[in-house]
């Protein structure tokens, strides 16, 4: 099995920064990422795409090239197209690449697995044509695809970014159906003091809103009773706004009400997680370095708690400094000297969060969906069925599996786990922490027998 000093999982901003900083300190790094090219979702395919449509995507995207350039160096083996499916003690990471399973080992692991869209279960959200806003971004970034008639539904700065990019590309969205209310904004203003330290961010947000106004993109705010209608595919969004029922015809719907840490890998190695009431999600418990209760496992970036690309990059560097010190390549003094400016930078970069969390809260109807709404997309389990399980005595997500197939499909709960926890907590009166989350076990992603055939026995055992 191949050996190195540190394995970094995920080549987004946190993973790329961690790999580069670790290599700078003289460590041998294996950087594993599922995509064929580095960048993560935020800088997806940036090396190829920046020249093609950097103007539409903006500087915040194209500057990802600094990070992709920094990982092309000695000391970093970038295993692109590598799907990690098991992380075991010691550490041995199993992955599939080019149709073959393989393993790499190292005494330290930095998990930089990024974010997932917060599940947004609404009536009709499983219809073809309904996608996450992140998917809309990926289509534009990687493939240069724009939806001709799209409605953006939900809340948060990402919706404005996508809408502004669509305007720049000449195909503005049909409408924005926004769930936040004026009251949310008033509440958020209490955090403005902190947000002003994040002023460049705020200014960008205002500029995007101005772009939408100039393009006369209709915005409906405080939307409720949102549903997607269509016969076999998305055809319209129906909702109430301003006291009136409304219908907006479309053929693509992009959903977004925030992103949440992708915790699958961290959970699979036993990192404890805690409910974050402000962000309405579970966050892994990490120290200031990204260290966890599992010795040798570090987390960086959105996977450790949502902060965005810039925070992720900084956190990646900080985690790598700690790893380098633990492996004897940096003295504790040198580690601290290099980390000090990064910690100051991170505190500036995170100053905007409390404002954003308050101004764009998740959509209540999607946090506690109506009984008939599908919650588990894979196995088609409704919110009402989950509530029914609670009545029969089900108190936690793992027990739902005794009642039905929620969370047992191929996505392994990635798009239903938080909803199931919330529904059970609501029904039992327990906290989300008491209710818990699905137990995540390898394989984290399906691995086929053909892919396994090339592996040694130890690795095959891990998959079983």
């Amino acid at each position: 099995m191949r050996q190195c000093d540190v394995i970094v999982v995920g080549a987004g901003p946190a993973g790329m920064a961690a790999a580069a900083t670790a290599a700078d300190a003289g460590l041998q790094v294996a950087l594993l990422d599922e995509q064929p090219r580095a960048g993560g979702q935020i800088y997806r395919d940036v090396d190829r795409v920046a020249a093609l449509r950097g103007g539409i995507l903006g500087k915040d995207y194209t500057e990802g090239r600094a990070l992709t350039a920094a990982i092309r160096r000695d000391g970093i083996e970038h295993l692109d197209g590598a799907v990690v499916w098991a992380i075991e003690d010691g550490f041995c990471v199993s992955y599939t690449r080019a149709g073959q399973a393989a393993q790499v080992s190292a005494p330290k692991v930095i998990l930089a697995t990024g974010a997932l869209e917060r599940p947004m279960p609404l009536p009709g959200w499983t219809l073809p044509g309904v996608m996450t806003a992140g998917a809309g971004q990926i289509l534009l970034k990687q493939s240069g695809l724009l939806a001709r008639r799209a409605v953006l539904v939900g809340t948060g700065p990402l919706l404005y970014l996508i809408a502004a990019q669509m305007v720049r590309a000449g195909t503005p969205p049909v409408a924005l159906v926004e769930t936040q209310t004026r009251a949310d904004l008033m509440r958020a203003n209490r955090h403005l003091g902190g947000a002003l330290r994040g002023w460049p961010y705020l200014a960008k947000g205002l500029a995007m809103l101005a772009e939408l106004m100039r393009a006369r993109v209709p915005r409906y705010t405080g939307a409720t009773t949102i549903a997607i209608a269509g016969d076999g595919r998305a055809e319209a969004v129906t909702f109430r706004s301003g006291g009136k029922p409304r219908t907006v015809a479309c053929d693509t719907v992009f959903l977004h009400h925030g992103v949440v840490p992708n915790t699958q890998a961290a959970r699979s190695v036993g990192v404890p997680h805690r409910w974050d009431a402000a962000q309405h999600c579970f966050n892994p418990v990490v120290d200031a370095w990204g260290g966890t209760a599992v010795a040798g496992v570090f987390l960086a970036g959105d996977g450790a708690g949502i902060g965005g690309a810039k925070v992720a990059e900084t956190a990646g560097r900080i985690a790598a400094l700690k790893v380098a010190e633990e492996l004897g390549r940096l003295s504790a003094d040198e580690r601290d000297r290099r980390a000090a400016p990064l910690n100051r930078l991170r505190s500036r970069q995170t100053a905007i969060r409390p404002f954003l969390d308050a101004a764009y809260p998740p959509f209540a109807e999607a946090l506690a969906p109506a009984d008939a709404t599908l919650v588990c997309r894979c196995e088609e389990v409704t919110a009402g069925e989950i509530r029914g399980y609670a009545k029969l005595g089900c108190i936690g997500p793992n027990q739902t599996k005794a009642f039905g197939r929620a969370g047992m499909g191929p996505c392994q709960g990635r798009y239903c786990g938080l909803t199931v926890t919330a529904l059970l907590a609501e029904a039992t009166g327990q906290t989300p922490d008491q209710t818990g989350y699905y137990r995540i076990r390898p394989p984290l992603k399906p691995v086929t027998l053909g892919e396994l055939a090339a592996m040694d026995d130890g690795a095959r055992d891990a998959a079983e």
């Binding site: 073809p128 493939s143 695809l145 997309r377 996505c411 399906p446 027998l449």
Partner: protein
Amino acid sequence: MKTASPFLELEAAPARATVWFDGEPLDLPQGANLAAALLAAGVAVFRHTPASGAPRGPFCLMGACFDCLVEIDGVVRQACMLEVEDGLRVTRPHEAEDSGAPV
């Protein structure tokens, strides 16, 4: 089946490839993301759910939701994690079981 594409391509890729989707030839950009290329070609329904037969198409495009599952050479795979190759034969997954012959 295939409808007029709800997506606009910003630039036409010069190199093309023929991909068969459920027996129908499609002209797709060589090397493009397979799920994106199928969407652009007007394919909306990638599979039907094993539980109810409901139609599904790509949802996340980042390998997390498994709603883009298709069948290639008898193996069920995520279209959003694949690239367009000339001669690729893609079908909607045939069996009720759709998790890619896992272990």
